[in-house]
């Protein structure tokens, strides 16, 4: 099956009550780890409501640090982060985070549904556990990513692509208006990537806003409304067509890239476990 580039769905109009605020507004953020040069320096980015924004940069560019600072997992040295016009700690219910797949303990004895339910956490309910509504939202999220047959399976028994789907379902189950996805496609074959991107397109067309950290240029070129190039600082930002130029990418990745993706034809690969990274084809 050959895919014809990206199908761009009509995006829903902005929800009225927050049209004034961007979903995410990061202003002059400087953050890092004690005793080291800041991993990100004076970074300002914006994720408009209902858009998919791709954050590109090489390893060590500060993508994960930026995510952690946005989420309040590390304290920034300077700058501020607003989600829907509020500090992040007041907007937790509106933010869902999908960590890199390597950061999750896949041997832990939890089922697929257990993991997805975690996205529904909104405060203590001593002795009560998850509500009926939580369960329904978890199951709906699993159906959305096509994992309904696997609800009871221990997560370690899933393939690489399925693991990504579990984490994405967990983010979806939260019902948040802003999703932060850290390397959701790394190590996936192009067909699986395409399926996940279609889900993200759907979410965006519902008015949800999505920030994707990736070093996959083709994903950004084909599926994002905006691209931000990060290498400790914001090198460039704007529409993918404007940003993904040879000069900017060379500055971002600090080396010359052989291929700049435009419209990339993708052949479906049946094997879900196929771990040949698409990123490698594109950036080397």
């Amino acid at each position: 099956m050959v895919l014809e580039g990206r199908h761009v769905p009509a995006r829903a109009p902005l929800a009225e009550h927050h049209h004034a605020n961007a979903a995410l507004e990061v202003r002059h953020l400087t953050a890092g780890y004690p005793g080291m040069r800041p991993a990100i320096d004076d970074v300002s980015i914006r994720v408009p409501t209902g858009e998919i924004v791709g954050l590109i940069g090489p390893n060590g560019a500060g993508k994960s640090t930026l995510f952690k600072a946005i989420l309040g997992l590390i304290h920034p040295a300077r700058g501020e982060v607003l989600a829907f016009g509020r500090p992040v700690r007041e907007a937790r219910a509106d933010i869902a985070y999908m960590p890199q797949v390597e950061e999750v303990d896949w041997e832990f004895p939890v089922s697929v549904l257990d993991v997805v339910m975690m996205g529904r956490y909104h405060g203590p309910r001593p002795f009560l556990g998850w509500s009926r509504a939580d369960r329904a939202a978890g199951l709906a999220a699993l159906a959305r990513v096509g994992l309904s047959p696997y609800v009871a399976r221990q997560v370690g028994q899933l393939s690489g692509g399925q693991r990504r789907r579990v984490l994405m379902a967990r983010a979806i189950a939260r019902g948040a208006r802003l999703l932060l996805l850290d390397e959701p496609f790394a190590g996936l074959d192009a067909a699986v990537q395409h399926d996940l991107l279609a889900i993200l397109d759907d979410l965006a067309s519902e008015g949800r806003s999505i920030l994707i950290a990736t070093h996959d240029l083709s994903c950004v070129a084909n599926s994002c409304d905006e691209a931000i190039c990060l290498n400790r600082r914001v090198v460039a930002s704007g529409q993918p067509g404007e940003v993904l130029t040879e000069a900017i990418l060379t500055a971002t990745f600090e080396r010359h890239l052989l291929a700049i993706p435009q419209a990339i034809d993708v052949v479906r690969i049946a094997d879900d476990e196929h771990l040949e990274t698409h990123e490698r084809q594109v950036t080397r």
């Binding site: 950061e103 832990f108 975690m118 998850w130």
Partner: protein
């Protein structure tokens, strides 16, 4: 056969022993579930050894030894968490330093006394047959408090054990529950201390739950099965030690080890097929 089974329990001390092992087993199953799957094995061992300092201080001061052990274990749990968060050394180094310091402190205090008394040795190697009615009540109270805590905050404990960063983004006070997990281990150690002893407590935290994890795939069922296995091994070990005239807590641990190996032998052969089936399905 019935006589052989029931004969030991005509004695009050044997009935008490069985009761305290029941309480201990439940706690070992529940807390062991977190210890095994969160990789806290070394913390468990460290907390057990650190209680010696508390036992020694209480012993010299004439205070409640159980209370001394509890205070020492909780302080050590907090110390491990604090060191882990701040030191530029790896977590196991931090734990190693803290627990050796506490264990040494215990030995130093005790070495000032003329001789190691039998009562003290009962904490080091366990003295199940010397468990008093007060010990049973003390262990039971701690166990109930611990189970209530886990019941009330199971979701938080699970989130923090599984994915602390994500947990923090959802608003779970992740740091607090990471400390709480260590304190739970400390309390579990104290519950089991008199029955099992400092040296072997960790074995009962690890082995029954690890056995259950060989054939179960979800934490709650692993905890329940771990508790059942722990009690089965404990009762068997108690019985064997009664007839063979050997120390009880090593007998219990040896039974637990044997059960683990037996289950491993069965599941590792069946496991090959399970993994193959899962892989076939996934591809």
């Amino acid at each position: 056969m019935i006589d052989w089974l029931l004969e030991p329990y005509q004695y009050e001390f044997m009935r008490r022993a069985l009761l305290v092992l029941l309480v201990t087993s439940v706690v070992m199953g529940v807390v062991g579930g977190f210890v095994v799957h969160k990789g806290l094995a070394f913390s468990g061992d460290a907390l057990a050894h650190a209680t010696l300092a508390g036992v020694a201080v209480a012993f010299v001061a004439g205070a409640s030894v159980g209370l001394g052990a509890l205070v020492a274990a909780v302080l050590t749990a907090l110390g491990i968490g604090w060191t882990r968060d701040r030191a530029r050394v790896s977590a196991d180094t931090a734990i190693g330093i803290v627990f050796v310091a506490m264990f040494s402190l215990g030995i130093v205090i005790l070495s000032r006394r003329a001789s190691y008394t039998p009562d003290l040795m009962s904490f080091v190697f366990g003295n199940i047959l010397g468990v008093s009615a007060g010990d049973v009540v003390g262990s039971a109270v701690l166990a109930v408090a611990l189970l209530l805590f886990v019941g009330a905050f199971y979701r938080e404990l699970l989130l923090v054990a599984y994915d602390p960063a994500m947990a923090a983004t959802t608003g779970v006070p992740a740091k607090l529950f990471q400390y709480a997990t260590l304190v739970m281990v400390a309390v579990a150690v104290v519950v089991a201390l008199k029955a099992i002893g400092i040296v072997l407590v960790n074995a009962m935290l690890l082995i029954p739950v690890s056995t259950a994890a060989l054939f179960l795939r979800r934490l709650p069922s692993i905890m329940v099965a771990g508790a059942l296995i722990a009690f089965g091994c404990a009762a068997t070990g108690l019985h064997l030690s009664y007839y063979a005239g050997v120390a009880t807590s090593p007998a219990i641990v040896l039974v637990a080890c044997a059960v683990f190996l037996a289950v491993l032998a069965v599941t590792s052969r069946r496991g090959v097929r399970l993994v193959a089936a899962a892989e076939a399905e996934a591809s």
